[in-house]
Amino acid sequence: MLRRLRSLFRVLTSRRDFEEGMSGELRFHIDQLTEDLARSGVPRQEAARRARMEFGSLNAVAEECREARGLNPFDELIRQLRHAARWLRKTPGFTATALMTLAVCLGANITIFAVVDSILLRPLPFPEASRLVTVFNTYPKAGVDRDGSSIANYYERRGRIPAFAAVAMYSYGTAVVGEAGSIEREEITRVSPDFFSTLGTGPAMGRSFTDEETSDQTDKIVILTDAYWREHFNADPQVIGKQLRMDGTWNTVAGVLPPGFRFLSSAARLYAPLPSRPEDRSSRQRHSGGNTRQMIARLNPGATLAQAQAQIDAQNATLEADDPQAKMMADAGFRSVVASLHADHVRSIRPVVLWMQAGAMVLLLIGGVNLTNLLLIRASSRLKEVAVRQALGASRRRIISEAIVETTLLTLVGGLLGLVAGAGGIRLLSVLGADRLPLGSDIAFDARLACIAVLGAIAMGLALAAPVAWFSLRGHMTVAIQSETRGGTPSRAAQNLRHGFTVAQIALAMILLTSAGLLGLSLERAMAVSPGFRPDHVLTAQIAVPWNRYPNWPARLAFNERLLNGMARQPGVSAAGVVNNVPFSGNSGKSAATVEGHPRLPGESPRGHYSYGVDGDYFAAMGFSLLEGRFLTADDSRRSARFCVVDEDFARYYWPHGSALGQRLFVGSEAATGAQSFTVVGVVSAAKQAGLTDQTAQGAVYYPYALRTDDKLFLVVRTSIQPESLGLALQKTVRQIDPELPVTDIRSMDTRIADSLVAQRSPALVASVFSLIALLLIAVGVYGVLSYAVAQRRREIGVRMALGARPDQIRSQFLWRAIRLLAAGEMLGLTGAWLTGRAMRTLLFQVPPLHAATFTAAAGVIGVVSVAACLLPAHRAARVSPMEALADQ
């Protein structure tokens, strides 16, 4: 078999040589025969004639030879391809419409499929990645859905969960890398020693971390990614043992990771040990995950998620038995969840991506229906030709294969154009910010995608050929021949089929349009939500203030003071403040607070609140409104008095009937001694932290900066000028105070809010684009079908006109027919749109799935577009001249 294929391939690649050789060989034979005959005494001319006679038809022999060589199917295919190409060239209008439809529909699908493929389908780039899981703590009743895992969890689980082959921890962060004076900031992931072995991909050079390298003193080592090694060490093969300065201390390079190593969506190019103190590992710290440290694990071969979950649950139950906090954690709904690492990483984006793919598929369906209708119209115009050919002996197989070759040629060319469109679409996606999606930076146009696209185009060609072939072969040759020669009315079945397709098309467009409308409305409503402060004219920036440079409170407060004074001197600045975590920063970690005189009721869970440390005129800079009492001021951070401000939600929850002012609360989940309490001095408006669509009233507490802080801070400046224009002045101010402090994430508050809506904006945008295309497609579809109907019934119209029908009667007859189709399509579409709206409820924000205005608008737009599309053909029908129409045939 293989041998024959190879021989066939050789012949196909040098087809011309084969033909020349064959005719030369046959000629040689005839010449030899002639000569032999001549030599035996036959006159020369007679000999030549006899030789040709004896040999038989040269063409027939050549054809048999080709067949013997297995060439016939190919010759046939090439003939059919040529025929199909000629046919497409002869009707440029149809071909252009079909190719544009295919290019747009396939392009849209390729673009979205690239997203689906890279985010959902492709396994993570680790060996047997399906066995990788993540484990996180959740306290749903306290409003904390994810709290990562704690160091204590890690040490308790390591080697004790039979379903896990390995357990590891990681934590994202940043570090200032380089010599003194450098402000180059690198993302760095801190990991436990077994991190790389859990993933199954370790350093390509050097070694991994050890268990001894997990304390603050012993963690001064680093593993480089291949990219960092090439860029900063010039790919030095002797790099192991060299020193790299990180956050002011020297770290020894222990290893270099293989090229292409990338953990989830992290852009980290440096990996360092995740240090912990003995007390972090104790059971008292079991619930201090804080969502900054995450756990991954590798399942043993054969172990399932459910087994791992059961074992974790069992271990938690055992450990909680002698835990003083157990009761409270149980009230908070505490659980440790085991989930697939890949699925968990993309969980938020999964429905969005799938819905976008569904939208693209609907678009493809509309385009496919359009093409089917156009192809059916062509097929019916050739019905007579097909019938005659069948009568002359053309086999059904041949008619079918012709239909397949024609449609597949069309879809293949369309598919290639679609690849171009898709490549453009993928570029457009990255402009829209798709690379910020989880695993989004892997979205790329590659050979795998191209192969899938070509296969898809071929499949579509086959699918389109089916109705055409069916229609062409639908028996009754004589009927076809007769009816078409008489130029009578079209066959009912064909017309019903075309009308059915048009109705389906309108229904699908209706679904797309309403979805786009619902998503757009959700986006608009989300944008209309007040963030709880005035985001206009506010510039924000993140500044890292490392503890080793500013080791104590006076130093840190002095830095804040110089910073705020420096900013206050800038032109147009009306207020400047500092906060440890600005709203819409992307970090929405919560922590517990306990209110004095508010013992938790049985069954009431401890609540997680946003807690902030503020300095300077933070509230004024952000534009919070004061509801009661006063704001915290810079002085509060510099006095020993312990005051705090709470937000509306917090006050309403704990003191629904009285004033919050003068009440006292404690940091943490337990009330402490009176000296550690904070007295509420003010109530401010509630701010959104995670996003505008955040619906839960979480409550927030604002503490003086000195009492609540991280190693980084956000500077917030309100200005009367364009906020972005203050960026350079901001950086300069920081540099004057301390040239080693990196300033990152300089964005206006408005930009932060806009960026936070990417999950709402991109589906709305994609759905709108798809809807526009769908409208164009149904316009083309309705126009095509109606034009054909008019052309086909020219004769009939002519007769009626000759008998006295008025043009406007003819016109309204065709318009009514279109409107009937439209109404049927919209009714069907309405039902579909309602079901779709219900199914995609998770993507909607404050919009019911059955939104009358949106549905009406979608129906209206589709109605206007379709009626407009049939005006021209209807008008043409009314202008048919009886004389010409009757003289036509």
Binding site: L26, F28, D31, L33, E54, C65, A68, R69
Partner: protein, 113 residues
Amino acid sequence: MGKSAELLPGTLDLLILKAVSLRPLHGYGVLQRIQQISGDALEIPQGSLYPALYRLEHQQLIAAEWGVSDNNRRAKYYKLSAAGRRRLREETAGWNRLASAMAAALNTTPEEV
């Protein structure tokens, strides 16, 4: 020319293999050789030779090579491949078995039954 026999189906391939097994031949030569070795008893239609040759070449039982004929013309010469030689051996044995079986069957007299 004596009385010529009809060719049994499938025997042309075997005859071609046999002809080119003696020495490489061009198509016309194959025809002549078959007529010669069969003592002119087998009549092969001129045109039917080539599809058979192409089929055998496609099956790689024979290999073709361009050469120069006796009268100095370019001609395609066929020779037996290793697979062809094996096939020839098998088919010859098969043919002989069949022939002797047929002969035995046809020579049977009533007494022998």
